[in-house]
Amino acid sequence: MVHRLRRTARRRARAAGHALGLEEFRHYLQDQLLKDTDVMSMAHSVEVRVPFLDHRLVEYAVGLPARIKLAGATPKPLLLAALGDVLPSETWDRPKMGFTLPFAPVAPPAGARAAGPEPRGRMSGAQGGGARLGRLRGGPAPLVAGMGARRARALRRGTGQGGGVSRTVSSAADGGRGTADPWMVIDAAHATKAIDLAELWHYRDLLYFLTRRDVAVRYKQTVLGFLWAIIQPLMSMVVFTVFLGTLAGVPSDGIPYPVFSYLGLLLWTYFAAAVTRSGASLVGNAHLLTRVYFPACSCRSARPWPPSSTSPSPSSCSAA
């Protein structure tokens, strides 16, 4: 009885932790952490990607039961299981550090001050950090969220529930590595595959909201609103009627020229607007695309400012 009560309490605590994690994801991560990362990395001319926020990985992680994510006393056990083999132990086996201001390099401890100002001594800390960073960079590509076979097996055994983890294994079908080396490679889709309609259907609510946003923005702050959709071809019709229909005398198959050209322009305006707007849509929504959906080689894109490979276009310059 007591045992069961304790188990229920544990389950409730995990559920609460799960909910808390979601809230943190929705607010703290989105409103604070990502913004801080952006500001700090930009101040140092580093282009940061957040591979852990790839939607497939996030969806997968959210779907995992809380008992895997909040197992035992070690914080972030899943992350450790996934990357413990890949990263040097110095990165993951150290006391947790909060986001405190780096006072140490500015104001050295009392002992150091007693020995007099010695810039070389103070610099050593930074050099050590650099060396560690160098090792990190030299290691395996951190973009591949891998899970060591041994740890994955242990995790599966420990939880007695293989469904979630083995999904990772099966999703590593690329290259036929087999189940012995369960890697989950986050990568852009292959060109040979057609548009994934199932995926498109899966994200229909996203499509719906983006469409609604575009429609809402389209005729915002206009007096005539959506009437412009009718008026625009109407105005072109008047111009073409005057110049082509009346002055140039272009025939129109026996249909009154205004009707003839309006019907043509109606469909043409739709087509031209659709092509023009979708042509600009990727660049216009770069902030959505580059943040989360990242390509396999994005670890290379940490390049110094200013970017030398492409020349900035005038319009984006003026936006800066």
Binding site: M42, S45, R49, A188, A189, H190, A191, T192, A194, I195, F240, V250, P251, S252, D253, I255, P256, V259, F260, S261, L263, G264, L265, L266, L267, W268, Y270, F271, A272, A274, V275, T276, R277, S278, G279, A280, S281, L282, V283, A286, H287, L289, T290, Y293, F294, P295, A296, C297, S298, S301, W305, P307, S309, T310, P312, S313, S316, C317, A319, A320
Partner: protein, 143 residues
């Protein structure tokens, strides 16, 4: 249309598949140009001119009958030619030119698939080579 005593004909329902095909073509071409624009921003400057050129290569403000008979199939290779002529004929209840509509529909399908294929091909490099820099420039620069 009412001004000239013309009402949409009974065949007007046929514009629905025509509009759907037009939308698919626009999506295919738009995806291609969008992907190209992510890599080469020249596209956004060339696009208005391209669309103007395309419009005059399409019987929008002139009838297809103005084009000599033997060049009609060539004109119909432009997917919009058959679609717009068909749209007009369906709205006014006039006979459809099935030959040019068929050619246009086929080239519309080909263009759509080509656009989607090109998009998929270039998709891999978007965030890295295409959008990364432009997006970066849009932000505040370090002093």
């Amino acid at each position: 249309m009412a001004w000239y005593g013309l009402a949409p004909a009974a065949t007007a329902f046929f514009v629905i598949p025509l509009v759907v095909v037009t939308a698919c073509t626009a999506a295919g071409v738009g995806m291609w140009l969008g992907a190209l624009n992510a890599r080469y921003r020249d596209v956004q400057y060339a696009l208005p001119f391209l669309m103007q050129l395309w419009m005059f290569a399409t019987p929008v403000v002139y009838p297809a009958s103005l084009v000599p008979e033997r060049w009609r199939p060539l004109l119909a290779l432009n997917p919009l030619a058959g679609l717009i002529e068909g749209f007009r004929a369906a709205m006014l209840g006039r006979p459809l030119d099935w030959m040019s509509l068929g050619i246009s529909a086929s080239s519309a399908a080909a263009l759509t698939l080509l656009g989607v294929w090109q998009f998929r091909r270039m998709e891999r490099a978007f965030a890295d080579t295409g959008l990364g820099d432009g997006e970066r420039i849009g932000h505040a620069r370090p002093p």
